[in-house]
Amino acid sequence: MECEEARKRIVDFFYDELEPDTMSSLQEHLARCDNCSEYKQEIQSAIQCLDQQKELQSSIDLVALHDAIERKSRTWGLFSYRLPVWGTVLFVLFGIVLSAFALTKTEVQYTNNTLTIRFGEPIAVPQAQPQTDPIAQAKLQAKIDDLTKRTDKILTEYKKDQLKFQSQLTKEMRDSHNTTLKMIKDYESRRDVQLANLVQQIQLKHYQSLVAMKNEFELLASQTEKEFKRSYSTMAAMAGLLSYQPGQ
């Protein structure tokens, strides 16, 4: 056994931790090594010296201990943790809230003493865009042109009918005037009862002519009005569909 090993075993020996097998080796070493023997004496003296310290005497204040237990038992579980634990918990919660704000793209604004919190991105309202399909526009234009032509045609026919009506009316008036002149001549030559019948015939013919003219005129007017209404409603509908405002 070497000295270094022997000195460790000396400590073990005094503290009853020495293996029985090692005891004989230690004794052999101490018998031939003066330094280790002296070391053993010094360790023994140190241990005896330590023994001189008596046990300290102090009692636990049981009342204070019971109070502490009472306080702890009243405390709600989570609040019994120390500040670092709470700090960590709050930090993690704060991180989660920030992450949630970031993920939902939440905006927090404080203006004019008003707190505004908006979750998510602003909803984009689609703006009405004018129809830009060239084929549809061409078709619409063709339809409008067609309707315009039809309307113009109707207007032309209407004007012709008006002229015809005016000429008929003029002829009728001329005939009536001639008949009236003839009647006046007969009345001046014969001076008989046939004058009354003649006047009656003239009046009847004139009346029938006026009625026919009136009916024809009303028929033409109603057709014209109906056609105009249909044409313009169709044009307005198609123009509105393609955001086209006639007259703009």
Partner: protein, 189 residues
């Protein structure tokens, strides 16, 4: 026949406060002795001891009667003492009360015989002071091992369990500690 510590812990687990008081009374002096020697500060020692017993009460429900009760008790107390030492080291505050001569006299009063002669009192106080200083000058890990082995009579293996470290570490610490104590106490041996 005296009731065992394991039995007391079982009763404490069921909310038996007298059993807890019995346990405290049984261990308070030994616990105080260990903690005070580690911390060298009577006031802080009382707080650490109370905190240790409080911890024992709170964890009684989880207690398993495996191994030595004292190992578990000392582990709690030593860990709290080490935390206290770390805290003290961080704040660099030392107990002036214990360094004060009057306080030292009070402390040493506990170490002497009931009715010694005045010159014996002075001599014993000096020896006690030297021993205390020698222990205090040891590194904390070596001091704890010496206290548990020398004053509390724990085996090296038990100390390893208390400190949760290998047996070899405990042995090397006590060898180093005895080497240093031998040197520091040489003048009074």
């Amino acid at each position: 026949m005296e009731i065992t510590d394991h039995e007391l812990m079982r009763k404490i687990k069921d909310g038996d406060m007298p059993a807890f008081d019995t346990l405290v009374r049984r261990w308070e002096h030994r616990l105080y002795n260990v903690v005070c020697k580690i911390l060298s500060d009577p006031e802080t020692t009382k707080d650490v001891c109370q905190d240790t017993f409080l911890k024992i009460y709170q964890t009684a429900k989880k207690y398993r009667p495996i191994g030595h009760f004292e190992t578990w008790l000392y582990r709690i107390a030593v860990n709290r003492s080490i935390n206290e030492l770390k805290k003290r080291k961080r704040h660099q505050t030392y107990s002036l009360a214990y360094d004060d001569e009057d306080e030292k006299g009070t402390f040493c009063h506990n170490l002497i015989d009931p009715e010694p002669q005045p010159d014996e009192i002075v001599q014993q106080n000096e020896i006690a002071s030297c021993i205390q200083d020698a222990l205090k000058n040891l590194p904390a890990d070596q001091r704890i091992v010496v206290i548990l082995r020398h004053y509390e009579g724990l085996k090296f293996q038990q100390i390893a369990e208390v400190l949760n470290c290998p047996l070899g570490t405990v042995k090397s610490r006590i060898y180093s500690a005895m080497d240093q104590l031998k040197m520091m106490l040489k003048h009074i041996i």
